[in-house]
Each structure stands twice: as C-alpha cells, then as structure tokens.
Symmetry: none
Subunit: 410 residues, 2 copies
C-alpha cells in the first residue's frame, strides 16, 4: 500500500472547447496519458458544479478544507505566506507599499501615484520603522512579502473583518477611509484602527531616510501602505492535526505558499520557480521528488496554464502543457506513492478567466479500480471510474487508498 502521496495541481489546465479543441486535446501528452491509463479517472468540481473557484478556495477544497468554513478572504492566506504566525481571531490584510503625493495634509486626501511604489522591493527597513515607531491601541504585526507586497495583522479584543478596503485599487484617486460594513462596535473599532494605521504608517514612511533618498534620486518613494482584503483568521486545524500526515508544498506563487503555510505545511523554495511559463519546471519536479522522501503528502503546483489562459494564448498553453508533460517523465517511475493529477479549476482560453467547469482528475495507485481511460483531457475523464466527484471528496478517497482512514461505525 502506498505510504506517500504526490498531488500534482495543474492550475487552470482545463478548458472549454474552441472548434471542438482544447489545449489539452491538442497537446501531445504521453506522460499524462500514461498516468491516466494506469489510474482511475473522473471529473471533479473543485467546489460544486458551476462554481468558479479561485486558486485559493480550489486548493483549500482539494486539501479537504471546506472553503465555506475556512476561507475568510485573501488576508489570512497572504499573512501566513509572509511568515506571520497568524492566530485565530486575528484580522489579516494584504498590503502594498505604494506612492502617494508628497504634500502636507490628510493621508486620505493625497492621490495615489503608483500602487506598487515603482515595484520597490527593498522594504525591510521600512517595515522595521513602522513596527518600531507606530503605536496602535492594539497589537499588530506588519511583515514584508515578495516585491512591494506586505501583510498586516491586527490582534486583540473587539476586532472585525467587516470593514472596507483602504486601497482605492487605481491610481489618481486618494486612499479611501476604511468604514465599518456592519453596525457593530468591533467593526467601528477596527475601521478606526485601520485608518490610524494608514495615517500613522504614512507619517513614518514619508520621513524615512530611505524614502528621502529615493525622492532625491527622482524615484518613487514607498511612502504609504495600502490595505485591502481583510479577513478574520478562522480556527483551522493544521494538515498534520487533521490527517496525521506531514505536508510539503512546491509552488512558485505566493498565494499557494500562503495556503501551505496556513495549514502548517512546509513550503519548499525552488530557484527559478516563478509561476510563469519561464518557470524552472524541471527544478520543481526534482524538488517534489526530493520532498516525497521527507513528507507524507507533497503538493506540486504548476501555475502558468492559468496565466496563459488569462492571456487568451491557446498555442502558448499547448506548448506549456507539452513542456510540463515532458518534464513529468521522472514522476512515472515513482514507486510506493499515490499520484494524483488534477487542477484547482478550469481556465478556458475563451473565457480568459476561471470557469465553473469541472476538471479532469486521475488517481494512480496500485489499489485503484483501473478504468479504460487512456488520455488525460476534459472529454475522456467523464467516462472514467470515478465518475464525478467534488474537491472535498479527494482527500478522503486518498486517505482510504493509502490505508490511513478510520472506519465510521462497526
């Protein structure tokens, strides 16, 4: 019986047909087809039929966490991704270092010049200054993310995530004062704290020597932090607590790193893993094969199918599928390992965005009831032995296959 699990998540790989063709149908994929042939196949609704899943909720469901219970917005995931040790009840925000007008007056009257502060990324000192100098009436943690990104959590009593974003989401407008979205004391209090944080951090940042130096060089200063996506951190069991299995995550994207960290998994960094078509795909697959020696369950997340579909690039998606398929060769000789190949959602070229169509799913394991499917694609999968399952069904099926599921009843 397999003792390990490799879950390969091909982000947005599935399509709707254009002239009866999809990139998966057109691409030559001998390795994916060989896995389909060796396994049991089906289609899977990441959430439920017709629901357009984001990558975050799709991954949560595939890992057995009901997003309707555990997903409270991007804030907690991004905060976990930066390495903040988030706790139940924290209010977490995504933050951007940004540039607002250099003038006196209220923060909320200064227009945003660049939401990404010229993609300035040397933000460590700035974060440190805010943490050192700002005082709020509640505990807070600010931590940098990749590039111009950061995350903030507010911790304490009487806090709510039912408040509006400060980030105006476009340039040329001033930041928006956070307002409570419900008439509750906690929301009123949190909106006040967020506005105080926004003004206070701006005061500290605009005076910071680093920003003064940037300004003098004619570059955009990172003189503001724009908050968005507040979410209350839910009570969430770690993957290890829930399944008794350790989790390793190989991914090039910060969102999936955040999911992995939120569930107590270990994120394995791979040089050149970018989440784009130029990603170091061989490096990621090698990292996943190494990780499978150390972890019980390894997620190998490959992103660029989704990006190419967002760009409407049919041929690019075909080429990337073939590139990944070729790189998967060493996976085929894995032993004593349950291999799952699927996606977190469909991203049809024709939609240029996620759709609610189901995704193909292949389970390769000595224990499965093999079917006659010999191709990994949207049209073969529905005739497979799994028929149609949901994202939340996947982990129970895997747990049962590898012999670690408990019996319910006598």
């Amino acid at each position: 019986m397999s003792s390990k699990v490799l879950m390969i998540i091909l982000d947005g790989i599935a399509d709707r047909p254009i002239d009866n063709k999809t990139p998966l149908l057109v691409a030559k994929t001998p390795n994916l087809d060989s896995l389909a042939m060796r396994g049991i196949n089906g289609i899977m609704d990441p959430i439920s039929p017709g629901i357009r899943a984001g990558s975050d909720v799709g991954h949560l469901a595939l890992l057995g966490y009901d997003p309707y219970k555990y997903y409270t917005g991007r804030g907690p995931i991004e905060a976990a991704g930066t390495g903040i040790n988030i706790k139940e009840g924290d209010i977490a925000f995504r933050a951007n270092f940004a540039t607002v007008e250099e003038k006196d007056g209220s923060f909320f009257e200064k227009k945003v010049i660049d939401r990404r502060a010229g993609r300035f990324s040397q933000t460590d000192e700035l974060v440190e200054a805010v943490m050192d100098e700002l005082s709020l009436d509640t505990e807070f943690i600010l931590k940098r993310g990749s590039g111009h990104r950061a995350a903030l959590i507010l911790r304490g009593e009487d806090l709510s995530d039912k408040i509006s974003d400060v980030d105006p989401k476009k340039e040329g407008k001033p930041p928006k004062k956070a307002i409570p979205l419900v008439s509750e004391e906690a929301a009123i209090n949190t909106a006040r704290l967020v506005n105080k944080f926004s003004e206070g951090s701006h005061d500290i940042l605009r005076k910071h020597s680093l920003n003064k130096a940037l300004y003098e060089k004619g570059r955009l200063p990172a003189n503001a932090l724009l908050l968005r996506g507040p979410g209350k951190v839910p009570r969430i069991e770690s993957f290890k607590e829930k399944y008794g299995l350790s989790l390793g995550v190989v991914t090039g994207t910060s969102l999936i790193k955040g999911i992995g960290k939120m569930l107590g998994g270990i994120v394995i960094d791979v040089e050149g893993a970018t989440g784009s078509p130029d990603t170091n795909i061989e490096g990621k697959i090698k990292a996943a094969l190494d990780a499978i020696k150390r972890f019980d369950v390894v997620i190998l997340h490959i992103k660029a199918f989704d990006e190419l579909a967002h760009d409407g690039d049919f041929q690019g998606k075909v080429r990337f599928i073939e590139k990944v398929d070729k790189a998967l060769t060493p996976i085929l000789s894995l032993n004593n390992c349950c291999i799952v190949v699927t996606a977190d959602h469909s991203t049809p070229i024709s939609v240029r965005n996620h759709s609610g169509d189901p995704v193909p799913v292949t389970l390769v394991d000595e224990n499965v009831r093999r079917d006659r499917i010999d191709s990994f694609d949207e049209f073969s999968a529905p005739s497979g032995g799994l028929c149609r399952i949901r994202g939340l069904d996947l982990m129970p099926i895997i747990m049962d296959l590898i012999g670690v599921a408990e019996k319910y009843g006598a």
Copy 2:
C-alpha cells in the same frame, strides 16, 4: 408501477482489484448480470467518497437515515435488537455475560477469566434475577441477546453516553471502572450508575443457584456483565412514519436485526440463517419472497461476502458469490416489485476490512432508464445511467420510482 421494494444488500461484496481481478469479476453470476441488464446501474458511496462505512452506518444510510444524525454507537442498535423498546434519551449498552474470578472483594479488582463465560447461553434466569433484585436510582432494562450477549438501557433524567467502557476487552485484566469523559453532571451520574450496576449485578449473579451449579460442575459461571459501547438513543422516526411503508428485514446477523427493529421494522427469523458461508441462503430468499407479500419494503441482507473478505479468502468469496447468484433465481420472476441490488460497503480481499471504495448499485424497475450495463461488478457499474450516487440518495430514488414521493414545490 411497482408497489413493492426488495432491497438485496450483499454485505461487503465489492473489492479492489488484485491482478486486475475481483471476486465479482471472476465469479459466474448470470442472475446478477441479468438484473444489471434489466436495470439502471451505477456506483454508490454508502456515506460519501472515501468514507469507510461500518455495516450499521451503511444500512442506516441506505434506508435513508443520515448516520451523522442518528448513529450514536452500537449500544442503541444492539438494545433494539434484543427487543428492548428503546426510547429517546435512553443510554444503551452492549453487554456480555462473562466470568470473573470467584473471590471476595471489589468487582473492579477481579480479573476477567472469560469475556464470554464459556459462551454460556442459558441466561434467561440470570437476567430475570438481576432485573428482580437489583435496585438502581434510575429505571433500567436488561435483556438477553443471542448466546452470551445482552443489552442494558438506563432510563431517566440526567444521563449521558459520554462515559468509558467497563469491559476491558481482554482476559486477564479486571473490569474498568466507568469514568465520565466530559465534566458534566450527567456523565458523572451515569458513570456512578454503571459502576453500581456492574458491582450489584455481579453480587446477584455470583450467588445465583445456576452459577453455583455451573461452578460445581467445573464450568465457567456467568457471574458478571461487562458493559461497553454506550450510546444515547436518538429521536428517530420509524420507517413507517418516515415513508408510510412497512418494513420487513431478513438477515442472519444481530447487528442488522437491531437496525431493523430500531426503525420499527419486523425481523423475519429464518432457520439456519447464520451470517456465515454455511447460511441457509435458499431459506432466506424464500423468506424474502414470502415477506414481499406482507411488507412494502423488504431488506434481504446477505453477510458472508464480508466475512470471507475479512479472512482474505478470494476463492471462498468467488464461490459464495456464485452460490448466492444461483439461489437468486426465483427473484428474477418477481413481478410488480422494484428490485435493488447493492452493498453496504466494499470489503476488499486485499484490505481484509471495509474500505471507502464505492459499491455497485442496480435498480430494476419498469420505470428506470435502462442503460447498456450487462454485468454486476465494480468495473461496469461506473458507466451506468445512475453515475455516482450516495447511500442517502437511494430511498428517495426508490420512493420516486414506485410513485410515493411527494412533490417539492408547485
């Protein structure tokens, strides 16, 4: 339109493949295949994908009772099986007549010599003595089951099933004092009552003339009752209340008899029905065909597939499948009856225990949309017209087929 339903539950008949074969694939099953050909087919997750169902929760689900709501442990099912008229709120226990050391002192310091009292089965007088002579601070009913088995219910205010077992589950150890598993008054009170019952019944049993006679003959006295598996009886509608249909149950196993009685069904006893491969299978099928004249819905439960799989006996399972298939011949000429053939869970030979794999399901009725499936097995079923359903879906589908389902909405 059919007015009757015969549900044939082949306990644990489905497998995982060994060298691409399962007992169902290997066995010659012209009758089962003929039913598959005449019906609509699919796979069914007794609970949900990957969940390893016990026979008790599997049967509850197949009869339309959500086990997550109605299953509180084995106690209530076994108590109903003995014929105790269980009521909502009762705390029900499984009990064994057992032999503990013959010496003075505390019951909880006497080692268990035989958990089954030498399988002594003439327990009527002993039960009567305990019922007559023991007084607790709450109402109780003790009733004998088959062989050395019995069941106990405690009835009254302030009772809880959140207490530990007295039965040490092995010989050579003394019985364990029941302890409350939560810090609630009801659990503390129930643990006290259980300990008082255990000590008090032991005092009565060890002095009983029957046990003295056994002792003098050098046989093991049935001088103790070991309680285990407490469960609070849930509010549960009878099958008749829920569906307006009468229920008859043909089974050789006490667990399924208990389920039938708990739902207010009538259990039809068949001479020689044992739940083992030597069971009187023709007798059971004849009893089911008789029962279908008197009841609206008849469950015909056949157990030994499961037993043989627990033993890892591939060929034995093949032979038993062929034996049952042959005996099913008279079923094929049933008229005006919806016939369902399925299982309560898979029991793969390779696992020697229940697995979470789905089971095949065949519905034969003049009203079904027949498909092209011509074999009753794990590999054909997923291509059938039912695709993949859940145990709780079965009764609504049947109710609809036989024309007794109410419309939802206008």
